[in-house]
């Protein structure tokens, strides 16, 4: 079981120890500098102008008022902005033509001597649009819906096994239900920000990104510069949750502005513009059909997801994918349909696919348990597969059953009265719920170097990004064990493209990908040191590892992390206000590399799931085509008061088939299933099944009253 020792006993491995964050002191003293916090001589500030129509063209753009504002230096418009090369990602094709593909698309950038000047200038730009009829509303029967070949992550758009329709029709117990997850916004606390400037003929960029390597490659391609002449630094990043996984318009705009003005320019996208400009989780409409025999074993499963994408590019939230992993079922259909609309381009948000998909699947499993009068923990256990249902591959490790059992024990599940609506405290109804979690083990090739210094210390260098995961710390731990030296003797350098290239912090793959390369570099260094009888030659000793060809080799195993969530909620029958009382998660996510930072990440993911269940939701305005909840006053990220007791535990899982550390990744699994556990608890509390998130008072109160009638 997990344990957090205060100190690592001498001689014990560094990996797994609850080592304190190496950058912690900088963060608590305010010395850690983020992308906007690099004072440079003559720095200017960019402020975007966002389109106010959902579809059309810019008919005219009058910058004279902006240029009259004191301190405004220039305005970049589609008519005169620099013309970079065609980007691979069309969302980066900003200020290149007069087309407006969605509300909030950037149509100009005002550059000013100060933030105040730039903002006033942006307000003074007069834009006239030739607006066109727009279509922004997602419906399950939208005529433009199609099944894409691939959903996000390279997953097949559709998978069919056997004859699920027939199996479902013939099943003794059937659940046929629909769920809706609204658009959701990442809203990292640090807005998407880039500071770009020229240092001689070198382009230097401070970027708030989850992956500086890709930012550099993108800038090199766009601005036709050799990568060697670009340095992108992402030393501290104020969260991303997927929305900073690839370059976003801020870095292109900042670079164009520094090209135009010759001055350092910072572009921080204003908070209200983030939802439309930096990606969001697309809404998903789910139809779930589960058919089982009297023993509860699934006979047929159909998970059909309808979602939207923008006119700019295709992005399909892969929400039907987890049903290919979770339960033993002989007949299955998992299909995505996507509708191109005049909406902002959706993108990655923490556990894309799994988060909404498992909300639907795990809610439906709860409904099946109710229909069968079975305990929902036992129902899941009864459907445990021997191999991955969709691929037939054996699991590299799978301890879902153990997570469920351990979670049930810790939560006190056995004392639960399964009848819904029976626990009352005054106006409050209390209930508990469970849901499972899964997230794939992803890994990408990476380079890393390791150096032994004559003073007996070591440095590992890798362009990993620490977005709050503790990467700096964890990589030093991996290095210390591979080198067989105490953690204090290892330094790690991350967050710059001047370091060996590495993939992004995303897909819960960072520590696996980077750790693998660091491990390899350090193992080689240890071998080289042994050749020198352990003595470091003058000038040090350095190794460089690259896991290309190994880390990305096809695995014969299905590799996934699993988990189980338990939630207790209180629903106020007078107001419909629903609050979580406690959340408990147990995860089997391979070897946990740092007990301290892992716990924080898992708790963070669970809490984002709490938000998804209860407070977070965005509404597409049918008239204007934008999100009605565009700021942090309207889009309700959970606050302190929403988050009482959250416990994250894990099993000591050994998995020899993932990477040399045996880790699986923990950044996302915390959010997967969390919303379903809360929703299932609400059903247990009230006896009413809610199938549209979030469970805000308007929905809950309306549902409770409808049930009473």
């Amino acid at each position: 079981m997990d344990s957090v020792a205060a100190q690592t006993p001498a001689g014990s491995p560094a990996v797994g120890a609850p080592a304190e964050r190496r950058e912690g002191r900088e963060k608590v003293t305010g010395r850690a500098r983020y992308a906007a916090e690099h004072p440079l001589p003559g720095r200017a500030y960019g402020w975007p102008v966002a389109a106010s129509v959902a579809r059309g063209r810019v008919r005219s753009l009058d910058t004279s008022g902006a240029l009259e504002q004191p301190g405004v230096l220039t305005v970049l418009t589609p008519a005169d902005a620099p013309r970079p090369a065609e980007p691979d990602d069309p969302t980066l094709r900003v200020l290149q033509d007069d087309r407006v593909p969605h509300h909030g698309w950037f149509v100009a950038l005002v550059v000013g001597e100060s933030l105040e000047a730039a903002r006033a200038g942006a307000a003074a730009v007069r834009v006239e649009y030739a607006a066109e009829e727009h279509d922004v509303l997602l419906t399950a029967d939208h005529p433009a819906a199609y099944t894409p070949e691939r959903a996000n992550g390279g997953n097949a758009g559709r998978r069919l096994r056997g004859d699920p329709e027939a199996a479902f029709a013939a099943a003794a117990t059937r659940v046929d239900v629909s769920y809706r997850v609204p658009p959701l916004h990442n809203h990292p606390m640090e807005p998407h920000t880039s500071t770009a400037h020229w240092d001689g003929d070198r382009l230097r960029v401070y970027a708030s990104t989850q992956g500086a390597t890709t930012v550099r490659a993108t800038l090199a391609a766009l601005f036709e510069l050799p990568e060697e002449r670009i340095t992108v630094t992402a030393e501290h990043v104020g969260g991303g949750f997927g929305s900073k996984g690839t370059p976003r318009p801020d870095v292109v705009l900042a670079t164009m502005a520094t090209l135009r003005t010759g001055r350092p320019v910072t572009v921080a996208i204003p908070r209200r513009m983030l939802p439309a400009a930096t990606g969001h989780r697309a809404p998903t409409l789910h139809r779930l059909r589960l058919g089982s025999g009297p023993d509860g074993r699934l006979a047929g499963l159909l998970h059909e997801v309808t979602t939207y994408t923008s006119r700019v590019k295709e992005f399909t939230e892969q929400a039907a994918v987890p049903a290919r992993v979770m339960y033993a079922v002989p007949h299955s259909l998992t299909e995505h349909r996507v509708v191109p609309l005049d909406v902002p381009t959706p993108s990655w948000m923490r556990a894309p696919g799994e988060a909404p998909g498992m909300y639907a699947l795990e809610s439906a499993m709860d409904e099946l348990a109710t229909a069968l009068n079975r305990d929902p923990v036992e129902l899941r256990i009864a459907n445990e597969p021997d191999a991955e249902p969709d691929s037939g591959k054996p699991f590299s490790s799978r301890h879902l059953v153990e997570c469920l059992r351990e979670g049930a024990r810790r939560f006190g599940w056995s004392a639960r009265d399964p009848r819904p609506g029976t626990r009352r405290e005054g106006a409050l109804l209390i209930g508990t719920g469970v849901a499972a979690a899964t997230y794939p083990v992803l890994v990408a090739p990476s380079a890393a170097s390791a150096e032994a210094l004559p003073d007996g210390t070591f440095v590992v260098r890798i362009n990993a990004t620490d977005i709050g995961t503790g990467a700096r710390t964890i990589l030093a731990q991996v290095a210390a064990d591979a080198l067989g030296v105490p953690l204090e003797r290892v330094r790690s350098e991350v967050g710059s493209t001047d370091l060996p290239p590495a993939p992004l912090a995303g897909g819960s793959s960072g520590s696996s990908s980077w750790g693998w390369a660091v491990h390899q570099a350090c193992a080689e260094l240890a071998a080289r040191l042994a050749e020198h009888s352990g003595r470091v030659p003058e000038g040090g000793l350095r190794t460089l590892a690259d896991t290309k060809g190994t880390a990305d080799a096809e695995s014969p195993y299905a590799r996934h992390a699993f988990g189980a969530h338990f939630a207790e909620v209180a629903v106020d029958t007078a107001t419909g206000e629903t609050r979580v009382r406690r959340l408990l998660g147990v995860f089997a996510a391979g070897r946990i590399l740092n007990a301290r930072t892992a716990r924080s990440q898992l708790v963070g993911g669970m809490t984002m799931g709490l938000g998804m269940a209860l407070t977070e939701g965005s509404t597409t305005d049918p008239v204007f085509g934008d999100f009605a909840e565009s700021d942090l006053a309207a889009y309700h990220v959970p606050s302190h008061a929403d988050v009482p007791d959250v416990e994250a535990h894990w099993l000591d899982e050994e998995d020899p088939h993932t990477n040399p550390m045996g880790s699986k990744g923990i950044g996302e699994i915390g959010i997967v299933g969390s919303a379903a556990a809360v929703g299932n608890a609400v059903h247990h509390a009230t006896g009413v099944r809610f199938r549209e998130l979030p469970l805000t008072p308007d929905r809950v109160l309306t549902g409770l009253r409808a049930a009473r009638r």
Binding site: V28, P39, P41, S114, E190, G238, G468, S600, A633, H640
Partner: protein
């Protein structure tokens, strides 16, 4: 010198302005902006920040947050939303926690500001942790944040710290909160239960959701 200027106080903790540019050191809002700004739209204001007095000529539009970050290079206070909706910009103004993004600096003439950079100086010397290797000293709450892993990305952290220091002082001064029993005696210090801490810190959003650990860290330093 005609135009914007910035004078740093000569107290014992006086430091040079870190801003490297502009027509005068610390010219607020960039020299060029002030240069063309109508005289009526700028003002001279004096603030004491972390014990150091600063006299600056500011664009009247400049809010305290931007003054701290852009003019004084005190980047601890963060810009999360710029509209009082996230709390990342929280600092102490005359000892009370405030959202610095909504306060025009010109209206704060004569005020005392403490940012996260100045928190250690608020702690009694015996409670302060000295800096290692010449680094900054730590306020006990900063130490507790490290021990409890009360942050991840760190962006909301300075605001959480300043807010918590302010909230503890408010409770000691007898300020009730939304969750305080209305029957609790007026004017008496309010015991900070976990529920109280959570409610009082709710003006500081944390998307990484370090909330449970933040609450534990605050508990660690309660008087």
């Amino acid at each position: 010198m005609d135009g914007p200027h910035h004078e740093t106080g000569t107290g014992d903790r006086a430091r040079e302005s870190a801003r490297p540019t502009g027509p005068g050191p610390g010219a607020s809002g960039g020299g060029g902006a002030l240069g063309t700004l109508p005289d009526a739209c700028r003002s001279t204001t004096t603030l004491r920040v972390n014990g150091v007095s600063h006299t600056l000529t500011v664009d009247n539009r400049r809010v305290l947050l931007d003054l701290l970050r852009e003019d004084l290079d005190l980047v601890g206070a963060k810009k999360g939303c710029d509209h009082g909706q996230c709390g990342a910009c929280t600092v102490l103004l005359d000892g009370r926690r405030v959202n610095s993004c909504l306060l025009p600096a010109v209206a704060l003439d004569g005020c005392e500001v403490t940012t996260v950079e100045g928190l250690p100086a608020l702690a009694p010397p015996e409670d302060r942790e000295d800096g290692e290797n010449g680094g900054d000293p730590l306020h006990p709450l900063q130490r507790a944040f490290l021990e409890r892993d009360a942050f991840q990305c760190g962006y909301c952290t300075p605001g959480q710290l300043c807010s918590a220091v302010g909230a503890i002082a408010e409770a000691v001064a007898g300020h009730p909160s939304h969750v305080t029993d209305p029957a609790a005696p007026s004017g008496e210090p309010v015991p900070l239960t976990r529920e109280e801490i959570r409610e009082r810190l709710s003006g500081n959003l944390c998307r990484c959701a370090a909330y449970p650990h933040i609450v534990e860290a605050v508990e660690d330093v309660l008087p």
